[in-house]
């Protein structure tokens, strides 16, 4: 250590199959990008700020190596021998590659853009239990996008009223009803009672419509309580749980995945605190990769057209990454072989309404779950009409019909478009 200048940089190095590769965007603080890159690789693997007498030759072999620097766009690639990590321990892996380095004074900004996970690490995680195919099987829906709602108002409804909103949305046509991210087990609507009442309504809605319906109840809590709630859902005949993956954290998420057979829907509340500033922090692509490895079956990836930030290209890439097994390398993206890890159902949610549906299907494909909370429960004729309008919008687009034309014979869709407008499928990005 500390003998050769920039010894963690080796631009002739070719990453091996067992290396984990990170793509970083780096803004150095008054030093060269090479110096910055060296220090990132050092701090995130085996080194520290000063040479140490306790260093051993056998340690140097597993040091990280910067093997690619593009000064112009500030991108560097670092290869980490997988011996550095404990397989199956996501927190441990992130503590190296997404840990101290964000705080180094030598850097102004640091962005972890993407990760290529090697075979050994990929195989150490379970991935989704159900994935896209499993979810489609449960719902008996082969090809069309799934539609859902979030019970609104997001907090405060009493249990009976909550269950009634769910019922109406299902009967109207929603496949899925979801709790909001901040509903867990508050006094106004406690978990156990909500589970019972809402599943009762689900059964009623299934009988009424002849369709399968699912309720994604929010189990977000301290880990053992969360697992306990998931068990309650299994026992009560539920098929799904939802969890706030970032406020819970990855160790809790791993534990939940291990302890339930239910479909896991991952909500990403808090992600934008980490992901929004494109110069610093962790990209949503990295969080999506982590979620796929740990094993959520569904994950929010953004809306493009809704109330939340997230650009067209970013969300299209996320949707692709989640559903494919092999990803090719491109300028801003590392390659990936997902091996046996199942695809994750991408979810668009946040400020959506029926008028957005053709645009979302056209741009993100049919393997998408489209959720509208206000866009169903704020329908001028109520939640049943809101659910109908969602399905009508899907039907119209899948039948290659213009939404406005189609709405002339479909009142609920017409009302929705009159209220909130319509984004054409080919609207500019």
């Amino acid at each position: 250590m500390g003998k050769r200048k920039h010894q963690f940089v080796d631009l002739n190095y070719k990453p091996r199959k067992k290396d984990l590769v990170c793509l970083f965007r780096v803004e150095p603080n008054k030093i060269s990008i090479k110096e910055a890159a060296h220090n990132i690789a050092l701090e995130s693997s085996i080194g520290t700020w000063t040479p140490v007498g306790t260093q051993k030759d056998y340690v140097n072999k597993i040091g990280a190596r910067v093997f690619h620097i593009v000064k112009k766009n500030k991108l560097i690639k670092v290869a980490y021998p997988c011996e550095l990590f404990e397989g199956g321990n996501m927190a441990n892996i992130l503590s190296s590659i997404a840990g101290n380095i964000f705080g180094m004074k030598l850097l102004k900004n640091l962005r972890l853009v993407d990760i290529e996970w090697p075979k050994k690490i990929v195989d150490s995680f379970p991935g989704p239990r159900h994935g896209i195919k499993g979810v489609r099987k449960i719902l008996g829906v082969k090809e069309r996008p799934l539609v859902g709602t979030i019970v609104k108002p997001k907090l405060g409804l009493k249990t009976k009223d909550h269950a009634k909103v769910a019922y109406d949305a299902w009967v109207g046509g929603c496949d899925i009803v979801k709790d909001d991210e901040n509903l867990s087990s508050q006094n106004f609507n406690p978990f156990k009672k909500r589970l019972k009442e809402t599943l009762k309504m689900r059964d009623r809605a299934e009988r009424k419509t002849g369709e399968k319906k699912v309720y994604m109840i929010n189990v977000t809590a301290e880990t053992s309580e969360m697992v306990k709630r998931a068990k309650m859902v299994e026992k009560a005949g539920g098929r799904y749980i939802m969890v706030d993956i970032l406020t819970v954290g990855f160790s809790g998420l791993q534990t939940l995945r291990k302890n339930t057979k239910l479909v896991i829907h991952g909500h990403r509340a808090m992600h934008a605190a980490l992901t929004r500033n494109k110069k610093h922090g962790v990209s949503m692509m990295v969080l999506a990769d982590v979620s796929r490895l740990v094993g959520v079956d569904q994950l929010h990836i953004g809306t493009i057209v809704g109330k939340m930030e997230g650009g067209f290209k970013e969300i299209k890439n996320l949707s692709y990454e989640m559903k494919k097994q092999k990803i090719k390398e491109s300028s801003n993206k590392l390659k990936q072989n997902w091996r046996k890890i199942k695809p994750v159902f991408a979810v668009s949610s946040g400020g959506l309404h029926p008028g957005h549906i053709p645009y979302l299907i056209e741009n993100l494909g049919k393997d998408i779950i489209i959720q509208a909370g206000g866009g169903v429960n704020g329908h001028p004729s109520g939640s049943i009409a809101g659910g109908r309008a969602m399905r009508q919008a899907v039907d119209a687009h899948l039948a290659n019909k213009d939404l406005k034309e189609y709405s002339k014979n479909h009142d609920e869709l017409k009302q929705a478009i009159d209220e909130w407008g319509y984004t054409k499928p080919n609207a500019k990005k």
Copy 2:
């Protein structure tokens, strides 16, 4: 809802004792700060982007209220009735006040600066089991700052070599030896073996020095594995564990707190991805508050003078917040009554060496743990000398002696200062 314009803003509202109050810094995106504030309070409590027919009058009572807007410094205060939250469920609370709102298109940037936790929420968390007093009791050190090291190189050392580094540092004078944040149970140094070998060395160092010594072994992992490792530590006669609170996540941390009687040292790897950009994300003050409530006994707060970012005022405020029971309101800070929640021992670590010690004690007080990894193990005469130099620096400053003067009769300290320099206690901030 949606009847009155900006109905979530009420500048005449006086927060009640049972309100949780958030201080946000807001950069609106082409709207007024009032409009932005209204939307933040709405999205983080009971509302959504469009009025919903499912709204009930009884729900409106628990809506959040913006009661303070200072346009000049972009600060707003929002009061949340504590009925909105599930007590004792940190993930649930954060999913409201630190969740979706960071991603709203209506905002350019949003920073959660501080939180005032009401009695009901404070009392729903256990806080540290040991706190500053408990830690001092275990170590038998009444007043002086504690000093420690981190075994270096941070990854790659075999178990025997790891334990030897620890032994030397203890014998030299360190109270504490800590694993690095990215060491958990890799093949080169598996957890169980490391625990056994290092505690054996601890016992030997205690016999040799007549002082109490502690080993902070890193249990960071999937939650049930983490709890299992903590139990192993208890059984093996360890007194401490350490955990990466952010890569593990708060639900896992809560579970760990519930399931161990050991002292918990909280490492904050990844925090700077959330905290570094002062315009966006979550402040370290908020993360520190959360950690105190959930119940870590020790927490990294920064170094001012070391290799990691973090300004003088920020770190001084953090140190104050961690050790006091009542905090007064100031321009950038909400008041807080910590009630029965014990104080947390603040830890400075990251690029430190003996020459920094007088400055740190002078500015952060005696209730501080000063850790030097490279600054002990990189000592020109090795880790024993490194440990000695740390204690000599503490002794010198507590005896009101200038470090350079003192070092004339203390070789190890002199060597350290010659190698790395010396920051005067009154150096400018």
